[in-house]
């Protein structure tokens, strides 16, 4: 028979066994979809080269110490590295800051990237209009220029043709627009405004020089390791020269992609392992379905052999079905993935609220996705098809034809199906352990008690210009005026200020408690310090346990006061009475603060244990008038209704201090858990997929095994076994496979959990170790009991005569 005739026969047989083919395609499609999705997602966000010529050679540098990784280098260190390094053909620096920006008629706040000319060369910048920043702009005394992105051009200047030469005020300083970049150009990640790099080390003590980001383009043929070795050596040299500043500091070579993903290598590895396990499960299931079919057809194979077919021909025939199933599944998976990638973009955008995902992230099927899909499809076809084909065509032809070896064959395939069930149990228990642990921890985090009320608040950040608000009085009067004006608005119940809204972020400082000896090598307490206005505690419903909150009597000319959280006393003062004790910033000449009140614990920063457990010190806005604060508005209505009011009032009070991050308190919380929710959704997807695959797989194998043993059941009944004894017999067999599978799967799961534990994405719970085995045991019981029950419905004599 030729290829096409074989293909026709295969198609016909698949059509005849429609339900079987459908099941196989379903199983394979689930496995392939998840795998292709994960590949596309991880590749496009993490591994794909930056979208310009030689983008694959661009690297970001990160300073590290033994305990920490940072994002920017001391500018003087950058200059020393730039002088000595030999592995990059471009070695450059930039920095970005949030700035208040004013066009002729509008004000807003956004990031400005301060860059050098090579920045645009490396990233292949082609301006839509005008030019990019050049060497002349960098000269001392050059007129300040700025390059804007298409977004800004459209939104602020209405896409006007004469935008070049117009003015954009940055922190109240005029800059001339010299170029417009296309919307597709956002290097280094989501930039929209670029200005000349203006940091300098001249005339500044090395310990006070500013920090900036460092990146470069590797010379052709230079590996990351070589570049890193070279730079590490230079950093060691610097550390020898300036031990007090650079002791223990080193450098790693990484990519913009990895830094932007805000994730860890272990998390990615865990996801890849999970998806690998799911794909393996799918392969085992489909392979097993095909094997059972091939064994059923072993008589047909024997007849073909008797007619002169070689083993190769037979293997090809069985393989063809596997290839067809995988091919159809591959195409279906690509369609599903293409749809779900679009969905992910929406989900991820909510994570990046306030900013945006890096511009090189692509949520579509790329060439690499297609290649990976083809590779996975072919690989799964071989894995699922080859083994069954070899196994099924190995039988002794003449005995199969004489129909006498039923026993011998079922003996072999029986062992194989036991192995399959064991691996299904092992794989699914490992996957379920991880997925449920992740889901549990996410549920915990979603219900974090931040120590404040979440509903009914609108929050926004504001940052005053340094030049206009030099004095404490001016700053204080701004906040007072804003508060008064806002409180006049209908729907506003209460207004107060805090340096940082809980949930969002924290400023951690070293403190010392009066009278405590911190020793020679002092490890000072590191709580967060939060500046708040007088009525802040009542506005957000933080409970006062002892003493008092801030009031009008605390002024610049009265002694400094502080309020601490309960865990501050527990952690740093051995639980002793705190009222009246004094604390101050360590290693500085700051004055002593007297503790006047104790409030409940408040979490500043995202809900990870290090944030939740960190104590807080609250100080008074009137005694520490800061330039940047957050306003918190309490309302009985939907806080979103106050957005416009807030914007309008703030603009009226100070047009040069636009509000940003205008969010409800609940939205702040959602944003804090958005990434873990996204990741947990993936893991829950893995869990559901593995549960479905494992259940269908185990059920399929068990049902097939039981059907194969119909005659045996008949014999056992003829010999006196009652229904219960038959059930017990098969359940015992299932139990052995279950226990073996769990003994393999649970330790693997625990190993994977340990990988994830640092990322605080999992929470260990004894319940998991009961629930997961229970769920799988239940699967086995159903998978055994149901087919056995069906066979037992037959009269024993029919079971005995079953073919």
């Amino acid at each position: 028979m030729n290829f096409f005739a074989d293909l026709k026969v295969t198609f016909r047989s698949m059509r005849r066994n429609f339900r079987f083919s459908l099941l196989a395609i379903f199983v394979m499609t689930s496995g392939l979809s998840l795998s292709i999705y994960m590949f596309s997602f991880l590749y496009n966000t993490l591994s794909a080269p930056l979208p310009f010529d030689q983008g694959e050679r661009v690297r970001k540098l990160q300073p590290i110490t033994s305990t920490n990784q940072f994002l920017s280098f001391r500018l003087s260190d950058y200059q020393d590295m730039a002088k000595s390094q030999t592995t990059f053909d471009v070695f450059d620096t930039y920095y970005n800051r949030r700035r208040n920006l004013v066009s002729s008629d509008r004000s807003f706040r956004d990031r400005v990237f301060y860059v050098n000319p090579p920045f645009f060369e490396v990233s292949n910048a082609r301006p839509l209009k005008g030019r990019v920043i050049n060497q002349d702009d960098m000269l001392p005394g050059a007129a300040p220029v700025v390059v804007i992105g298409e977004h800004i051009w459209d939104n602020l200047y209405g896409g006007a043709d004469d935008v070049l030469g117009k003015e954009l005020r940055i922190e109240n300083k005029p800059f001339t627009i010299v170029g417009v970049m296309p919307a597709t150009y956002r290097f280094p990640d989501y930039a929209k405004i670029w200005a000349p790099f203006d940091m300098t080390t001249q005339g500044i003590n090395r310990s006070n020089v500013p920090y900036a980001s460092v990146y470069g383009r590797l010379k052709e043929g230079v590996s990351d390791e070589q570049a890193e070795a070279d730079l590490v050596q230079i950093m060691e040299q610097i550390a020898l020269e300036y031990p007090e500043l650079n002791e223990g500091e080193s450098v790693i070579v990484t990519t913009f992609q990895k830094l932007a993903a805000m994730t860890t290598d272990t998390l990615i590895l865990a996801m890849q392992l999970c998806v690998g396990l799911v794909l393996l499960l799918a392969c085992i299931n489909t392979g097993n379905l095909l094997l059972s079919r091939a064994l059923e057809k072993s008589k047909e194979s024997a007849i073909r052999t008797a007619m002169g077919a070689t083993r190769g021909v037979l293997v090809t025939q069985v393989m063809m079905e596997a290839v067809l199933i995988c091919l159809i599944s591959g195409v279906l998976s690509l369609m599903i993935v293409s749809l779900s990638l679009e969905g992910s973009l929406t989900a991820l955008k909510s994570m990046f609220l306030g900013s945006e995902p890096p511009y090189w992230w692509r949520f579509e099927l790329t060439l690499e996705s297609y290649l990976a899909a083809i590779f996975m499809t072919v690989a799964t076809a071989v894995i699922t098809g080859l083994l069954p084909a070899i196994k099924a065509t190995k039988g002794d032809v003449s005995s199969i034809l004489r129909d006498g070896t039923r026993g011998a064959q079922s003996f072999q395939s029986g062992r194989l199906s036991k192995l399959i069930v064991i691996s299904e149990v092992a794989l699914s228990s490992a996957l379920l352990l991880i997925a449920t642990s992740v889901a549990l921890s996410v549920i915990e985090k979603n219900h974090t008690d931040y120590g404040i009320r979440l509903d009914g608040y609108l929050t926004a950040e504001v940052s005053l210009n340094r030049s206009d608000y030099r004095t404490d009085e001016r700053r204080l009067s701004f906040f007072q005026k804003l508060e008064q004006e806002l409180e006049k608005q209908p729907g506003v119940d209460d207004v107060s200020f805090t340096r940082m809204v809980p949930i969002t972020w924290a400023r951690v400082e070293q403190f010392e408690v009066e009278g405590v000896d911190y020793g020679k090598d002092p490890k000072y307490p590191r709580p967060e310090i939060v500046t708040v206005s007088n009525d802040y505690f009542s506005t957000v419903e933080i409970k006062l346990f002892e003493g008092r909150t801030f009031s009008e009597q605390d002024r610049a000319d009265t002694p400094l006061v502080a309020i601490v959280s309960q865990n501050f006393i527990k952690k740093y003062m051995n639980g002793e009475p705190a009222l009246g004790k004094r604390i101050k910033l360590a290693r500085s000449g700051s004055d002593w603060y007297t503790i006047v009140g104790v409030v409940n614990d408040v979490t500043h920063g995202w809900p990870y244990s290090y944030n939740i457990e960190r104590p807080s010190v609250f100080v008074n806005l009137q005694q520490n008038p800061e330039r940047a604060m957050s306003v918190v508005i309490k309302t009985a209505n939907d806080p979103n209704l106050l957005r416009e009011t807030l914007r309008r009032v703030a603009f009226e009070v100070e047009p040069n201090a636009p509000l940003f991050n205008v969010l409800t308190m609940e939205r702040n919380h959602e944003r804090a858990v958005a990434d873990i929710n996204f990741i947990s959704r993936l893991f829950i997807l893995f869990a559901i997929a593995s549960m479905i695959l494992a259940f269908s797989g185990i059920y399929g194998v068990m049902a097939y095994t039981v059907t194969q043993k119909t005659q045996e059941i008949g014999v056992r009944r003829a010999l006196g076994a009652d229904n219960q004894e038959i059930h017990v017999h098969f359940l015992k067999q299932g139990a052995i496979q279950l226990i073996t599978g769990l003994l393999v799967g649970i330790p693997v799961g625990i190993g994977l959990l340990n990988m994830l534990i640092q990322s605080e994405l999992v929470s260990f719970s004894a319940m998991i170790f009961i629930l997961v085995p229970l769920a799988i045991s239940l699967t086995i019981v159903i998978a055994v009991a149901n087919p056995v029950r069906k066979v037992l419905k037959l009269e024993p004599i029919h079971a005995l005569r079953y073919e």
Binding site: A408, S410, L719, A721, P796
Partner: protein, 248 residues
Amino acid sequence: MSALISLKKLKKVFSTEEVDTHALSDIDLEIKSGEYVCISGPSGCGKSTLLSILGLLDTPSGGSFILNGTDVCELDAKQRADVRKKEVGFVFQSFNLISDLTVEENVELPLTYRKELSKAERESMVANALEKVDMAHRRKHYPSQLSGGQQQRVAVARAVVGNPSIILADEPTGNLDSKNAEQVMSLLDQLHGEGATICMVTHDPRGVKRAKRSVEIFDGRVVADSSLSRPKKTEQSEKELATEATVA
């Protein structure tokens, strides 16, 4: 001798959507303890169906069936299983040994369903049964490692191991060559000689001749029931038995 089995007006009807097939109609039959009955007839006459009902592997559609004084038509599935394990021993045409179990495990199988027997009791009963069929030397083998004749001897051992009231044999020589068939028949003879009640379905005339009573069935009815005189063992068959025993 009292009747071990008593069938009155026994019926078996197979109903499909289109037609009712009367496999057995108004069967009246008594089998006494210690009898060696052969049920014969052409293919499809209902003899195997009758044997299945006698072995409680199938239920009659009507009539009564008294086994050892118990009306078995009234029993539920569990009670029927109980009767099977104590009263009935089966020998099938296709041996029906369980391929994953060794010879001795196969023979022990019906005893494992009898909770009253201790492990030691079971072991000695299995050893006895294997001794009887001369298969003790193969007790650790798997069925696939045995010849057809040997497998059937193991099956006979399994049928007699629990000392059942009756051994039901369904074409026990159907899958065997004449030499092996002869051995199995001799084995049944021997068991009968030791007092076993045997009811055998066969259309092998040699088998028919060995039984003491022949019941002939045609179209689901008993058409002849005659006691036969048992032919004497030939010298040749004695010899054959001895040869096989040494070969095995």
